[in-house]
C-alpha cells in the first residue's frame, strides 16, 4: 500500500500566552526589552509515523495530549515548527473538525450545501453533481429551502456530515463528531464510515470514546503530552489509552497497604455514609438475589457504579479470581473499598479489576460479561446519561448474558411529585435521587439493542425495583 501521510520527527510548539496583543502592549514589551511570549508549549514533539492508503487510524489521548493539533496539522491548518509532515498532493481531503462550521443561519439548506462544498474546493459542476446525494443522505429534502436557523442542531449536524461524506474524499479527518446526535444518526454515520473504509479510503479519527474507536479503526496512535506513546492495533491502543486516562485501572498493590482497618473505622467512615445505610444487609441481599437468578462462580461480572465495593466484596469472595470487574467514576470510593472494606470482609481485592472512569463509556473495560450489575447508580444520573450507561453496558454482555438494573420505580414518566421511599427518604422527577418509569428505561434499552423485563418485589432494603436486560440476538 502506498503511503499517504508521513510524519518525520514532527514537532509543534505554541507560545504559551497565546492571545492577540494590541500595539500598545507590543510597544510596552519592546520598551521593557522583552519578547511577547518566551514561554512555549510543546503540543507535538518528535512524532514519527507512516500511514498507508486504506488505513483508519484513531488518534487518542487525554485532553491536551496533542491529538487535535496533529489532526489540524495533517489538515494543513496548523503548521509544524520542526520536522516534516508529508501529505500526498493528489488527495481530496475532507475535514470534519467542527460540525456545521461555515454554515450561515440565514441561508437555506441548499445554499449552505453549495457554500460548504465550495469551501472544500469543489467546482460548480462537482457541487451540482453531489447535491442530490447530499440532500437524500441528510433526509432533509423537504427543508432544503428553509433557512437553517429554523433547523434543530441535530438537523444542522446531519447536513454537515452529509456534505462531508459526499465529498467522497480520499482522506477524511474527523474530530470527535459522535459526541452529539441521536442514536439513529450515529449509527448512520458509523455505517457510512464503514463503507468509506471498505472502499479503501484513509481516515484519521480523533476521539475520546473507546467504543467509537473500537468500532471504526484498526490502528490507534496514542498520544501523551505530544509524544507517541503507542502505535499499533486499535484494541491494544485502547488498552494503552486507558492507562493514560479517562478510564484508568486502579493499581491494587498501591491501594492495599499495611493499615489494618477495624470494623469501627468502617462503620463511621465517609464512604459508607455516602453510599447509604444498611451496608451489610444490602450487600448480602444483592449477592443472594444474583444467586437466586442463576449466578455461578464461573460467571464474569461487571459491577457498574461499584463504589466502595458494597456488593463487590461479596462478589469478590463468591466468584473465581479475576471474574469481578468494578467501575466507578470516583476513584477514592473504589480505593476505600480496596483498602478498607475488602480487608475487613477478609477478601483479597487483587481478585478483581477496577476502573476509574465514567460509566457512559465502557470501551476501556476489558472483556465481555455474563452478568452486569447496576445498583445505586442511575438514581444519581440525568436521563441522557442513564441512556448512555445502559447502551454502553448492553454492548458488553455476552450473548446469553443478563444485566440487572436497580432503580426507583415511578408509575409514569411525568411522576412530578416526590415519592416516599423506605429510609425514609424521597425520590424525585427532576433531581436526585431520581425515579424512572419502566417504559422509559425499557425504551432506552430497546434503542440500544436490548430487551428489558421488569421484576417484581425482590427484597431490596432500599425499596428499589429491578429491571432485567438481555441483549437482542442478532439474526444474521
Amino acid at each position: 500500500m502506498r503511503p499517504i501521510v508521513i510524519a518525520q520527527d514532527l514537532s509543534k510548539t505554541f507560545p504559551l500566552h497565546h492571545r492577540v496583543l494590541s500595539v500598545k502592549e507590543r510597544l510596552m514589551n519592546v520598551v521593557r526589552g522583552r519578547r511577547g511570549s518566551d514561554e512555549q508549549f510543546d503540543a507535538i514533539s518528535h512524532v514519527n509515523f507512516e500511514v498507508a492508503e486504506g488505513e483508519s487510524v484513531a488518534l487518542v489521548g487525554r485532553n491536551g495530549s496533542g491529538k487535535s493539533t496533529l489532526l489540524k496539522m495533517i489538515a494543513g491548518i496548523h503548521h509544524a515548527t520542526g520536522g516534516k509532515l508529508l501529505v500526498r498532493r493528489d488527495l481530496r481531503i475532507a475535514t470534519m473538525i467542527e460540525l456545521g462550521v461555515g454554515f450561515h443561519p440565514d441561508l437555506s439548506g441548499r445554499e449552505n450545501v453549495f457554500l460548504n462544498a465550495a469551501i472544500h474546493g469543489l467546482s460548480r459542476e462537482q457541487i451540482d453533481a453531489i447535491y442530490p446525494r447530499v440532500a437524500a443522505y441528510s433526509e432533509l429534502e423537504p427543508f432544503m429551502d428553509n433557512p437553517i436557523k429554523t433547523y434543530s442542531s441535530g438537523m444542522v449536524m446531519r447536513l454537515g456530515f452529509a456534505v462531508s461524506i459526499n465529498l467522497d474524499p480520499d482522506l477524511f479527518l474527523l474530530d470527535e463528531i459522535f459526541a452529539v446526535g441521536d442514536e439513529a444518526f450515529q449509527q448512520k454515520c458509523l455505517q457510512s464510515m464503514r463503507e468509506f473504509k471498505e472502499r479503501g479510503r484513509t481516515m484519521f479519527f480523533v476521539s475520546h470514546s473507546a467504543e467509537a474507536v473500537r468500532q471504526m479503526c484498526e490502528r490507534a496512535i496514542v498520544l501523551d503530552h505530544g509524544r507517541v506513546r503507542f502505535d499499533g492495533d486499535a484494541l491494544s491502543g485502547i488498552r494503552e489509552y486507558r492507562r493514560v486516562l479517562t478510564m484508568s485501572p486502579l493499581a491494587v498493590d498501591s491501594a492495599r497497604d499495611a493499615v489494618r482497618p477495624t470494623a469501627a473505622d468502617a462503620e463511621h467512615s465517609l464512604h459508607r455514609r455516602i453510599v447509604g445505610y444498611k451496608w451489610e444487609e444490602a450487600g448480602t441481599r444483592h449477592l443472594e438475589f444474583l444467586r437466586e437468578h442463576g449466578l455461578r462462580p464461573t460467571d464474569h461480572v461487571l459491577d457498574v457504579g461499584c463504589g466502595p465495593l458494597r456488593t463487590g466484596v461479596k462478589l469478590l469472595a463468591y466468584l473465581e479470581p479475576n471474574h469481578y470487574s468494578g467501575v466507578d467514576v470516583d476513584g477514592s470510593m473504589i480505593e476505600a473499598g480496596v483498602r478498607i472494606e475488602a480487608p475487613l470482609a477478609g477478601v483479597d481485592p487483587g481478585r478483581g479489576q477496577y476502573y476509574i472512569g465514567n460509566a457512559t463509556d465502557l470501551g476501556a473495560v476489558e472483556g465481555q460479561f455474563d452478568v452486569i450489575w447496576i445498583n445505586g447508580l442511575i438514581q444519581d444520573l440525568p436521563h441522557e446519561q442513564t441512556a448512555l450507561v445502559l447502551a454502553s453496558a448492553i454492548r458488553r454482555l455476552t450473548p446469553g448474558g443478563r444485566m440487572f438494573v436497580a432503580y426507583f420505580d415511578a408509575p409514569d414518566f411525568f411522576s412530578l411529585d416526590p415519592i416516599e421511599r423506605p429510609g425514609p427518604c424521597f425520590s424525585y422527577f427532576d433531581r436526585v435521587p431520581r425515579h424512572f418509569d419502566f417504559a422509559t428505561l425499557a425504551g432506552y434499552v430497546a434503542a440500544a439493542g436490548g430487551c428489558a423485563e421488569r421484576l417484581g418485589e425482590w427484597g431490596d432494603p432500599h425499596g428499589q425495583a429491578m429491571m432485567v436486560v438481555t441483549p437482542v440476538q442478532k439474526v444474521s
Binding site: 494590541s22 509532515l85 508529508l86 462550521v101 465550495a118 474546493g121
Partner: protein, 280 residues
C-alpha cells in the same frame, strides 16, 4: 519501506514548510473561484433578504449623500461649479466602493475564525470576496444612476469613456491590495480596525471627491496625490465630467499605486496566510 525512499517531493507536500509562493497563491484563487462566487452571492442575498425594497436600498445611500453634499456645497459653501451633482456622483461612488471595501475587509479574516480553524482553503478568498461583493454593489448602483445623470445633464457618450474599464481595473487592484494588508494586520493588531476608521476619514478629505484636483494650489497638489485614491477619482472626473482623456501624470500615479499596493498586499498576505488560523 523507508520514508526517505517513498517520499518523492513531486508526490508529497511538506506541510511543515509552508509559505505559499505568489504563483500558487494566484492559482489557489482561481481554483476556489466557486467559493468566491458563493461568498459574494451569499453577502448580496443576505443584504437585502427580507427587505421590501431590496436592491433599491443600495441606491438610497449614494442618493442621500449626493443630496446632502449638493445642498451643503451649492447653497451653504456656495461652490459655483456647473453640473456639480454629476461631478460629485462620479467620485463619491468610487470612493464609497473603496472605503466600504477596506472597512469590511479589515475584519473579514478575524471574524471567520471558526472556519479558518477547521478547513484549509486559500485565505485570500475571504478579502477577495469582500472586494468583489463591494464591486458588484458599486457597479449595479453606477449602472443604474450613471445614465440618469448623463441624461439629466445632457451629456452624450464620449470617446474618453472607453478608458473607464482600465481605471476600474486599476482601482480594483489597488483596493484588493489594501484589503489584503488590513485583513492580515488586523489579525495581529486589533488596533488596525480603529486606525482604518480614522484613516478613511482623513483620506476622504485628502482625496478630490468634493473638490477638483485642478483647483488645488500647485504646491499642495503632490500632497493630495499621496492619497492613493486621488488619481482614480481625478481620472473619473476627467472621463465622465469633463469627457476628456486622463493625462499621463494621472495614469502613471494610478498605475504605480495599484500595481505596487496589489503585489505588496498579496505578498504580505501570502507570507502570513498559513499562520492566520493559529493567531485567531
Amino acid at each position: 519501506m523507508s520514508p526517505e525512499t517513498t517520499a518523492d517531493p513531486a508526490l508529497f507536500e511538506d506541510r511543515a514548510a509552508a509559505v505559499v509562493p505568489l504563483g500558487l497563491g494566484l492559482a489557489g484563487l482561481l481554483r476556489y473561484r466557486e467559493l468566491i462566487r458563493n461568498l459574494v452571492l451569499k453577502d448580496l442575498k443576505l443584504k437585502y433578504r427580507g427587505s421590501a425594497l431590496g436592491f433599491l436600498w443600495s441606491l438610497a445611500n449614494p442618493l442621500a449623500m449626493l443630496v446632502v453634499y449638493s445642498v451643503a456645497f451649492t447653497y451653504i459653501i456656495d461652490i459655483r461649479r456647473p453640473r456639480f451633482v454629476l461631478f460629485l456622483f462620479v467620485g463619491l461612488l468610487a470612493w464609497t466602493f473603496f472605503a466600504s471595501t477596506i472597512s469590511m475587509a479589515t475584519t473579514t479574516i478575524a471574524e471567520a475564525g471558526g472556519l479558518l480553524k477547521s478547513v484549509r482553503f486559500p485565505r485570500t478568498v475571504m478579502p477577495m470576496a469582500t472586494v468583489l461583493f463591494n464591486l458588484a454593489q458599486y457597479l449595479m448602483t453606477f449602472a443604474v444612476l450613471l445614465p440618469v445623470m448623463l441624461f439629466v445633464y445632457g451629456v452624450g457618450p464620449a470617446a474618453p469613456m472607453l478608458a473607464y474599464p482600465m481605471v476600474l481595473l486599476l482601482l480594483v487592484l489597488l483596493t484588493s491590495g489594501l484589503a489584503l494588508i488590513v485583513a492580515t494586520a488586523n489579525v495581529y493588531y486589533r488596533d488596525v480596525k480603529h486606525l482604518v476608521e480614522v484613516g478613511l476619514q482623513v483620506l476622504f478629505w485628502a482625496t478630490p471627491v468634493v473638490y477638483d484636483l485642478n483647483d488645488v494650489p500647485a504646491r499642495l497638489r503632490p500632497l493630495i496625490l499621496w492619497s492613493p485614491m486621488s488619481p482614480f477619482v481625478s481620472a473619473l472626473h476627467d472621463i465622465f465630467y469633463r469627457q476628456a482623456w486622463p493625462g499621463p501624470a494621472i495614469w502613471t500615479t494610478a498605475a504605480v499605486w495599484s500595481v505596487v499596493v496589489f503585489l505588496g498586499g498579496l505578498l504580505v498576505f501570502l507570507r502570513f496566510e498559513d499562520r492566520l488560523a493559529e493567531q485567531l
